[in-house]
Symmetry: none
Subunit: 127 residues, 2 copies
DNA sequence: ACAATGTATGTCGATATCGGAATATATGTC
DNA sequence: GACATATATTCCGATATCGACATACATTGT
């Protein structure tokens, strides 16, 4: 078995920097003709067509014919799986505390929480 | 030029499903020996070592020797770029405001397109 | 019908992958 | 030292990639 095809996954499709660049362009919500993209990206037209083809296969963009042009549009919700996946790990880096410290803190917190059972009633008397 | 190396990018490293699976395992914050991973994932040891090597090269995991074992640990903050990237597009699929706006724009586009050419499929039109 | 424009497709070369198998490199144990 | 365990490294075959280039296809205008 070899490397997975770029079209098997949103993850694989988006791994290519050029493709991310193109997604960035289309993120303005407008429809983009292939040539509009070619002008902005430093790539020849066939390369752009292929990248758009990959993005289309995984549903990240949709095409519609308009005259002799093909208008590509971003289907951003297809990126959601990536967002959700990464979001799963967000809690592991938020706060500047490292994970190890977090674990230590967690244990300390548990202990303190137990100890505080005796101190349940509001010593925080501001008011 | 060929496909980018899996070690060039967090995006590329994470494009591989097995690697994401391994990341999922390590997300409990503990240190994992290679064999611990081998037992959980349906892969031979060399394959696992290689995957861990890739993840290590991009900094997603770190290693530390302990006896004859190599303990791997997740460095979740290295996934942040992916989260941030995807987050940029979150607003495009959540919230009704952008959705409505997008819809309106799309309808305008469609109308313009229709005006520009009423002939989609070989039907000899007027003009 | 012909030319021009916009886009897709096919071929090619260089490169890298992924998993398996075999082997090498520690490290620990008797 | 001999041996077992844990892991890394190397070689292999099959497969895909990506960009360049050439070319085909499609649509529009004259």
């Amino acid at each position: 078995m070899a490397r997975a095809a770029t079209t098997t996954d949103v993850f694989n499709a988006v791994a290519e920097p050029r493709r991310r660049e193109i997604i960035g362009l289309l993120s303005d919500g407008r429809e983009w003709a292939v040539n509009d993209v070619v002008v902005r990206v430093n790539l020849a037209q066939p390369a752009v067509s292929k990248h758009l083809g990959v993005l289309r296969e995984v549903g990240v963009v949709t095409v519609v014919k308009r005259g002799q042009q093909r208008m590509y549009r971003l289907e951003a919700e297809r990126l959601k799986p990536i967002y959700e996946w990464a979001k799963t790990y967000e809690k592991l880096w938020t706060g500047q505390i490292s994970r190890i410290k977090q674990r230590a803190e967690q244990k300390a917190m548990d202990r303190i929480a137990r100890e505080n059972q005796s101190d349940e009633n509001g010593t925080r008397g501001d008011k």
